[in-house]
């Protein structure tokens, strides 16, 4: 259930309204955000330019030449009311399984910092299901949460200049797969051979959709190479 009094709807720019939920990472909030996005897409037609969501907030870009901010706020309130009378908005789809070769550059360091064995770190990372909360940072990067408290660590003090595509990493209560080679400051536990996005006919398809459930499965080096994985030398 959603308490409408805890949700803020604010006009933050000429063409943008921000909906903010209480500032706690929770799968129920993620479901509501995905649900609202779908509803606005259905009823907003050309009036909605785009929506960007994160853990507890949803930014709606709209055509202020076609709809006023008050009209859009009313539309949002109407959709929120639908959710508040519906305990389980049906938005979640199938679970995504991501195979990981746990030979990450930071596995030993994470093991030291958490005073757990490498195998315990791997087990704790694999044992939980994660919710996909946000796309951002770089295209195809999807923020997943929450990881086990025992392996939560702050970001690395100095980010790496280059993290390879496929790196599976953790930071605070989040985990993610780097979709492409990019600088990055998260702790790398392993590598996946799976591509995190596809591009076809001027369209971009992220592997993980928002609101989806993700889990990680350990694979051996042989299987990793079979699936097209590459061995990365730390740089």
């Amino acid at each position: 259930m959603i308490d409408l009094k805890q949700v803020n709807i604010d006009s933050i720019a000429e063409d943008a309204i921000l909906i903010s939920w209480p500032d706690v990472i929770a799968p129920a909030i993620a479901e509501q955000i995905v649900f609202i996005k779908h509803c606005l897409k259905e009823c907003g037609e050309q009036k909605i330019i785009d929506t960007v969501s994160s853990y507890t907030s949803l930014l709606i870009y709209y055509r202020f030449d076609l709809i006023t901010s008050d009209q859009l706020k009313a539309l949002i309130l109407k959709q929120l009311a639908v959710i508040s009378s519906n305990k389980n908005p049906q938005v979640a789809s199938d679970i995504i399984d991501i195979p990981v070769y746990y030979a990450g550059w930071d596995l030993n360091e994470v093991s030291d910092l958490t005073q757990l064995s490498s195998n315990e770190v791997i087990d704790l990372h694999c044992k939980h299901h994660y919710t996909a909360y946000a796309h951002g940072f770089v295209p195809g990067f999807c923020y997943l949460a929450s990881i086990d408290k025992q392996i939560q660590l702050p970001r690395k003090a100095t980010p790496r200049a280059q993290v390879p595509a496929g790196a599976v990493a953790i930071a605070q209560e989040q985990t993610a797969v780097y979709p492409m080679d990019t600088p990055g400051g998260w702790h790398i536990l392993g590598f996946t051979p799976i591509k995190m996005f596809d591009i076809a006919q001027q369209q971009f398809f992220p592997k993980i959709k928002l609101g989806q459930i993700v889990n990680f499965t350990p694979i051996c080096q042989e299987k990793y190479l079979d699936l097209g994985g590459k061995l990365h030398k730390e740089c």
Binding site: R63, F64, H135, I199, K209
Partner: protein, 322 residues
Amino acid sequence: MFTINKCQQNISIQDLGRPTAQHLGFSGTGAADEYSFLLANQLLKNPSNTPALEIILGQVSLRFTKASTFVITGADCLARLSNTRLENNKIYHASANSELTLQMPKTMVYSYIAIEGGFECQYWLNSASQAKNEVSLGLVSPRIKQGTHFTRANINIESVDSVYQHQVESHFHQNDKLTLRFIPSNAWSTLTLQQQQQIMESSFTIAPASDRMGYRLSGNPISSKLPQQLSAPVNYGTIQLPDDGCPIILMKDRQTIGGYPVLGNVARIDLFRLAQKRPGESVTFLPITTQQAQAQLFAFYSQFQTRAFEHLDSSQPAFQNS
């Protein structure tokens, strides 16, 4: 149609950006100064979203390989076409083999060269804009360098009348101190009146580490600590306040999500002005309402013959994946 003779990674292709792809993590991107960009296309009677070259601080030359009609807007780079000194905002006809040279402008940052009928470039999600951090993905035209060649696009336009007089406000960019009107955030309203007063009475200086992604301001650091929150979507013009008290204003090549506390959002037309200010220049802040900002922006787009969102009418909302 023309070839770049000289440049230093300071040219990019820009149009009105990729606002419908932000949910995928792509930057909104687009021309830093929409006034000068739209003016260029308007003067040439190009469709308003026709890609143009955006040049940072001049110092570029190009050779026309075919006769072309073009216009330069934005920062005045004392341009020359072969030996003729050119003025901004005027239509010129270049003959084949003539060379266009731009010097370092004395004021402002961005200049735009628009070509009648446009030039060919690679589109990605309805825009040819080259966002700083995304060019390397290879989805749009490659980064422009010495020797990059452009060919004519087949955009249908009306023929250009050289004496065409535009009805556009000609003093959009001013030399004096810029007042950034902004729509205050919820966090702003948690500040005391005294704290708000202090920010409004302060003058901030644009810091050297300012670019197409964001403008950093220095000055008397804002001492009011705002609570850290989970990363949330950020917008063009979001005023972030990191712990050091020095505000950052997010510009066209911004990221889509950010973690710093937010003071508010700068009115879009003031962002076009801010983009043309250089490090060392000063700005102040003044709160306004969303309705005031919308009215200003609507009036701004109305000066141009095309509507504000025309470029979105034909685009496919890129919603299918989230």
